[in-house]
């Protein structure tokens, strides 16, 4: 997964939170004035903060502060802390995760068959595997009385930016309207992170899920503050899917081994070390789960090669799979799936065209700048034509600005202004 958030963008996005944080640090903010039981954190500079420690990692803490009806979480490093006095309940860390027994029989169906669809989530997260087409599919799903949505995932990851919107649309919209299930062919990096919010996960026999280390450029890792942020981001996403956050940590960084023990009832206890009966990930390695070990540890509800097998594993009774079957197809293609396919094809076409227009614009501009004055106009006209195609395409797909052009919105606007000015100068 490439971290396409530039340092500047990351700073911008955090500016608001940091501003609130620094304001709090200058005052002895007390939640006890509101009559709330609080942890008390004394900083080395003498500042005393009261709030609720919602997360800890290697001595660093996230302290939730309350200002009237507003809550804000402040990140405090271990170096800054002099003392902590705790009064709040410890964050849950080693809670055994009971997985629903896949052999439990579903309640007998008393009504008509459930209607289900399979929606594919494929290719690069943030570009092709995106929240937008999922949102667009919702009206179709509702109109066609769909009960069950299977998200079939086959993606090698993508942009950090794409994770939260995808997770949000699945958790906040899909899960509220439909029974949502994941069927994993390959979910690597951002693809795993964005679909971790689904509780009911099944694997294909060849399935793999994990390897979520953030990186960019020449295999340079996301480090320091950026790493802490994404580790923190994934904890609530893990809990959305009722998955122990230890699992995702082991997929993100090689400092986090992972093991588990299973008791006589089949309940799993997870350990962020190698002390469990089964070691899934050793120190110094990054975790990718496979179909068999995912099932054994309860992360997956089972392994299905075909849709029929998946249906029988899901224990939702008989399902009418909506859509048209194609020869050799794994599942029928529904209207919702067509929305995904069309979206990906369109993005691919637009991405290719943007690349084409960008290259042609550069070449034409070069010709315009080098042409004799009497011939320049024709080339400037051609360059402007390419330029307008670029701007039109980008403005209809704003995510292309950071993801393909590698610019911040402000930088794009500046670039656009400069190019327009250059073309006008050349045309004189």
């Amino acid at each position: 997964m490439k971290n396409r958030m530039t340092q500047t963008l990351r700073t911008i996005c955090l500016a608001g939170a940091l501003a609130l944080g620094s304001l709090a640090a200058t005052d002895s903010v007390s939640a006890t004035t509101l009559g709330v039981i609080a942890d008390e954190v004394t900083l080395k500079d003498g500042t005393v903060l009261e709030g609720t420690i919602v997360r800890e990692l290697d001595g660093n803490i996230w302290l939730e502060l309350t200002f009237g009806s507003l809550k804000q979480t402040k990140y405090i490093t271990a170096d800054e802390i002099k003392a902590i006095q705790r009064d709040s309940v410890e964050p849950e860390m080693d809670e055994p995760t009971r997985r629903r027994d896949a052999t439990q029989t579903a309640p007998a169906s008393t009504g008509p068959k459930k209607r289900g669809v399979v929606i594919s989530l494929e290719e690069m997260v943030g570009m092709y595997m995106d929240a937008e087409p999922l949102k667009r599919a919702i009206p179709w799903l509702e109109k066609n009385d769909i009960d069950v949505v299977v998200l079939k995932v086959n993606s090698g990851g993508g942009y950090l930016l794409g994770i939260q919107p995808l997770s949000d649309v699945i958790h906040n919209e899909y899960k509220k309207k439909f029974e949502v299930v994941s069927w994993i062919e390959s979910a690597i990096s951002a693809a795993a992170m964005s679909t971790l919010c689904v509780e009911e996960i099944y694997f294909m026999p060849e399935g793999n899920f994990g390897a979520c280390t953030g990186w960019s450029g020449a295999l340079e890792a996301v480090k320091g503050r950026g790493l802490e942020e994404v580790l923190h981001q994934m904890e609530p996403i893990s809990r959305r899917g009722n998955h122990n956050p230890y699992i995702m940590k082991a997929m993100q960084h090689d400092d986090y081994p992972l093991s588990y023990s299973k008791d006589e009832n089949g309940d799993i206890t997870w350990f962020q070390n190698e002390s469990g009966d089964v070691v899934l990930n050793r120190q110094g390695r990054i975790l990718t789960l496979l179909a068999n070990n995912a099932e054994d540890c309860g992360f997956s509800m089972g392994t299905a090669r075909t849709l029929d097998q998946l249906e029988s594993l899901m224990n939702k009774g008989d399902i009418e799979w909506v859509g048209r079957w194609e020869k050799g197809g794994l599942y029928p293609i529904s209207g919702a799936e067509e929305i995904q396919i069309d979206y990906r094809e369109r993005v691919k076409m637009l991405e290719q065209r943007l690349g084409e227009f960008w290259t042609k614009y550069g070449i034409t501009l070069g010709f315009a700048q080098g042409a004799p004055e009497e011939d320049r106009g024709a080339f400037v006209g051609k360059a402007r034509d390419q330029f307008q195609k670029i701007t039109s395409l980008v403005e209809n797909n704003p995510n292309f600005i950071p993801l393909i052009l590698g610019m911040l919105p402000r930088q794009y606007e500046e670039w656009k202004y400069e190019q327009d000015k250059l073309l006008r100068e050349l045309a004189k």
Binding site: P205, A221, A371
Partner: protein
């Protein structure tokens, strides 16, 4: 040694003119280009009523027409269909001359090497279709020809589909000596395997009305070719077979970047490879032993079951497969030269059988049929599948040669209408890249570069036209 020598070249290597693209002429042009030429005697000959005589290979015959692969003396080939009404006589390479108006008969394969000797059977005989996957993996062995060959097997109603995996793994371009087990390690050919494995795990089982039993017979499966058979449950080994050549996974990135990101790359790749093995029902630990030099793996048999142990043997009934390859355990040059190293796992017939990867060791197709339990009554189906596979690699080699030659011709273009002629040549080159993109231009970069060149030429042409028009307006002097 193979009858045809195969070379490994880059996309710009020299070759003859590509048969398919270069000779995509009109029917009339193709026929006009034919003449009696000195070609090999093992070809069929069509004698037309016009008097012309054409040598080549009969691909398909019906009552009305013959589809024929013309073979020129230069080695070029072109496919052409002829109505039987045009044909005076047919001289078949192995059979007596037949009259053109005779009913269509199944053509004997021109190349005996491809014939496995059909065993005539009755209507209940098991129908077996055999495809040999030889050539360079990812080049001669590729998804398009495999897919087309499998379609032919489906048309023929194959009940058993046998893939003979025998990829090139040569130390020299002439194919005179094989690479050792530890040489040319190619884990990342996994991604080419992933281009092909949908055929085996999805298209055949889900697409056929009556899916056949898919069997892999391994003769040589090194590099990415090692992963393909592992998608299937039924694997047999030839006595001299080996499967491996992917032991460089944890060395691929050297010291590039941060260790944690390198570990991520290793983990996701291993996950993909182990997933394939899961499909075929093989233990993921085997994959790790194939791929990771420091991975220690032993095994023991508990009844019929193989139990893998991630440690050195501790009892007489435990056997070492791979050690950690460190210090005194590091393979010596002697052991490597003799293919006896155990830092990484390379499966031979004996080990593959012991581990349950291979269901048996067979030396011939007949032996394989016996292992499959159909030796008494089977028919080997004849089709165009093998020709499709063989032609593909030949076409790829010729396309690569053609591209190289055309770039040289591009630089030599001179005289009138230079830009227009260069653009036409560039479009032709692009067409070849597009046709064989999965091998010659998988990420589209070559085509993108040609598109840039074409656009530059277009602008240059525009500039010249503007200047020419201006000169005409200004007049002489």
């Amino acid at each position: 040694m193979k009858q045809t020598q195969r070379f490994t070249f880059s996309a710009l290597a020299l070759s003859g003119i590509l048969a398919g693209a270069g000779l995509a002429l009109t029917a009339e042009d193709a026929r006009a280009a034919v003449s009696e030429m000195a070609v090999a005697d093992d070809l069929d000959t069509l004698v037309l009523k016009s008097g012309r005589s054409i040598k080549g290979r009969i691909l398909e015959e019906t009552d009305d027409s013959i589809r024929f692969m013309i073979v020129f003396s230069s080695g070029l080939e072109a496919e052409q269909s002829y109505d039987r009404s045009e044909i005076l006589s047919i001289d078949r390479a192995e059979k007596a001359e037949a009259r053109a108006d005779a009913p269509a008969e199944a053509a004997a394969p021109a190349d005996d090497r491809r014939s496995f000797g059909a065993t005539p059977g009755d209507q209940d005989a098991s129908k077996v279709y055999v495809l040999e996957l030889d050539g360079v993996f990812g080049r001669g062995i590729s998804q398009t020809p495999i897919r087309d060959a499998v379609k032919d097997a489906e048309r023929k109603g194959a009940e058993y589909l046998v893939f003979v995996m025998n990829n090139d793994w040569y130390a020299d371009p002439l194919g005179w000596s094989q690479l050792s087990n530890d040489q040319n390690l190619s884990f990342d050919e996994l991604w080419r395997t992933e281009d092909m494995d949908p055929i085996f795990v999805r298209e055949i089982p889900l697409g056929w009305e009556n899916p056949p039993k898919v069997v892999f017979w391994v003769k040589n499966a090194m590099g990415g070719a090692a992963f393909l058979p592992l998608n299937c449950e039924d694997i047999y080994f030839h006595p001299d077979a080996r499967l491996g050549g992917v032991g460089n996974l944890f060395e691929m990135f050297g010291d590039l970047g941060d260790e944690v990101v390198r570990q991520k790359q290793y983990s996701l790749r291993l996950g993909h490879a182990q997933g394939m093995a899961n499909c075929g029902g093989y233990d993921p630990k085997l994959i790790q032993a194939l791929c990771e030099r420091e991975y220690v793996l032993s095994y023991k048999k508990v009844g019929d079951e193989v139990v893998f142990l991630e440690r050195e043997p501790q009892a007489p009934d435990e056997f070492l497969l791979t050690d950690d390859g460190k210090d005194e355990n590091e393979d010596t040059e002697r052991s490597l030269a003799r293919n006896e190293g155990n830092d990484i796992l390379t499966l031979d017939a004996k080990t593959a059988y012991a581990l349950g990867v291979s269901k048996g060791t067979v030396e011939s197709i007949d032996d394989l049929m016996w292992e499959l339990g159909i030796a008494r009554n089977y028919t080997l189906l004849e089709g165009s599948g093998q020709r499709i596979l063989d032609k593909w690699e030949k076409d790829i080699d010729e396309a690569a040669w053609q591209i190289r030659r055309m770039f040289i011709e591009l630089d030599e273009i001179d005289g009138d209408n230079v830009l227009a002629r260069r653009m036409a040549k560039l479009r032709d080159i692009r067409g070849i890249f597009a046709k064989y993109a999965e091998v010659l231009d998988p990420n589209g970069q070559n085509r993108a570069q040609i598109d840039v060149m074409l656009y530059q030429h277009e602008l240059q042409l525009m500039l010249e036209n503007l200047q020419e028009r201006r000169q005409r307006r200004l007049g002489p002097g």
